[in-house]
């Protein structure tokens, strides 16, 4: 038998495609898919969020550290918040925790797990219990409507999707940190308006009138015109002027009394706040 090795024809075991063309095609498809996925997830995150159980929120928020004060002010705010929650038909399986922070920041916010943070700076400016109730009721409404998880949902879903395909380094933990569970939660204008409206209803149910509800926004407007670097409440909220207008419109449409008798803040609470304010503390 005669053996020989004829030269093999070229190009059978290899494909004659241009690698650059393939790269362009594949990467375009890949980026397109990611963009589409992010868009879809972002679009539906709001809808998915309400199916996330409240317990999950509580769990997520259990690791938060609060630089808070547990004193009579906190107790007073917590009691008021509980009563307002009842006035708002707040779901029985959800809970509100108020954290009072002894700081001059003029701000209040709601975050995951039913936590409400309120700063001394804001309390100083509010002259009646009704005005404080408006702040609390507004934040309770955010929690009631699950706005924090919806807001986080959008960010978290997108970050998770990106990290799943290795586009961003980091684990879920750092995503939760980077989205800033506390301060970076931003609510949409619609969410703010819904909360404003629910807060007004709570005030009406609790006090029988909505007098004092606009105080908050007047304070914020005044604060905004004078120079202060501590206002964060305003930046994520609809213009205070518009909100006052909305409140008055709502009140008019519903026939709510805007001239009822204001409830004053208990004397001991006022004193405590004033003491903390005047205390010589460079950080406070």
């Amino acid at each position: 038998m005669k053996y020989n090795n004829p030269l093999p024809p070229e190009g059978i075991n290899t494909s004659q495609t241009s690698p650059l063309k393939e790269l362009l095609l594949l990467s375009t498809g890949f980026i397109g898919l990611i963009v589409a996925a992010v868009l879809v997830l972002g679009l539906f995150a709001d809808k998915f969020a309400q199916y996330i159980p409240f317990e999950t929120e509580v769990e997520l928020s259990s690791s938060f550290e609060w630089d808070e004060q547990k004193n009579d002010v906190q107790l007073y705010l917590q009691t008021l918040a509980n009563q307002l929650a009842m006035a708002q038909d707040f779901p029985k399986d959800m809970s509100i925790t108020v954290h009072y922070i002894d700081d001059k920041t003029v701000n209040a916010m709601a975050t995951l797990g039913g936590h409400i943070i309120i700063f001394r700076g804001l309390l100083e400016k509010l002259n009646s219990e009704n005005a404080i109730a408006m702040v609390l009721a507004h934040e309770i409404a955010h929690i009631h409507f699950r706005h924090p998880i919806q807001s986080l949902g959008r960010d978290a879903v997108i970050s998770l999707a990106l990290s799943a395909v290795g586009m961003t380094a980091g684990d879920t933990g750092s995503i939760l940190n980077s989205t800033g569970l506390l301060t970076a939660l931003s609510f949409s204008r619609e969410q703010e308006q819904a909360s404003d409206y629910a807060a007004l209803q709570s005030l009406k149910n609790y006090y029988g009138h909505i007098n004092g509800a606009t105080d908050l926004f007047e304070v914020l407007m005044a604060e905004n015109s004078s120079f202060t670097p501590h206002i964060t409440f305003l930046s994520t909220h609809p213009l205070s002027e518009n909100r006052i207008k909305n409140i008055l419109n709502n009140a008019h449409a519903q026939g709510w009394d805007t001239q009822g008798k204001l409830t004053s803040v208990p004397k001991n609470i006022q004193t405590l706040i004033q003491q903390q304010k005047s205390r010589p503390n460079p950080e406070g």
Binding site: N5, L7, N13, T14, S15, P19, E22, L23, L26, F30
Partner: protein, 148 residues
């Protein structure tokens, strides 16, 4: 920003050097295949009934690594599925190079034919997430060397 620049630089380097090395290698492979055509390597297991020959194991192996550009292309391919054409030329070159080395060894030992040629491939380096970094291709067979 720097990450993107580094990535682009690595891609360009991988592509440029990869293309250059591949063209050069193919040229060399085709030339050597012609030069060694007189020494056939066949996969038949049945040795001819001839006397006065020594049966010697000959082997040739080659280790190849994937360049950055091809790895990225393959990664994208993994996502969509389909033929990883970027790796095809790489493995084709490696397989032919291994056979050529085996033949060169046989030629140096004075053989005039190689029987029972077999090939083996193994991944010798597992990188991040078990991705294949380098592949070894081994070709071996039985060389028939006429007794002096």
């Amino acid at each position: 920003m720097y990450d993107i620049l580094i990535f682009l630089a690595l891609m360009a380097l991988g592509y440029g050097f990869g293309r250059y090395a591949e063209a050069k290698h193919y040229k060399s492979i085709i030339q050597r295949e012609q030069d060694l055509q007189h020494l056939p390597a066949v996969s038949s297991k049945v040795l001819p009934k001839v006397t006065h020959v020594d049966n010697i194991l000959v082997s040739g192996n080659v280790v190849i690594s994937v360049d950055y550009f091809k790895r990225f292309l393959a990664m994208l391919r993994n996502f969509f599925g389909g033929r990883i054409t970027a790796y095809e030329t790489l493995l084709d070159r490696a397989r032919r190079e291994a056979i050529l080395r085996m033949k060169e060894q046989a030629k140096a030992m004075g053989a005039n034919i190689i029987f029972n040629v077999k090939m083996e491939t193994s991944s010798i380096y597992k990188g991040e997430k078990d991705s294949v970094g380098s592949v070894e291709i081994l070709a071996y067979g039985t060389a028939l060397i006429p007794k002096q």
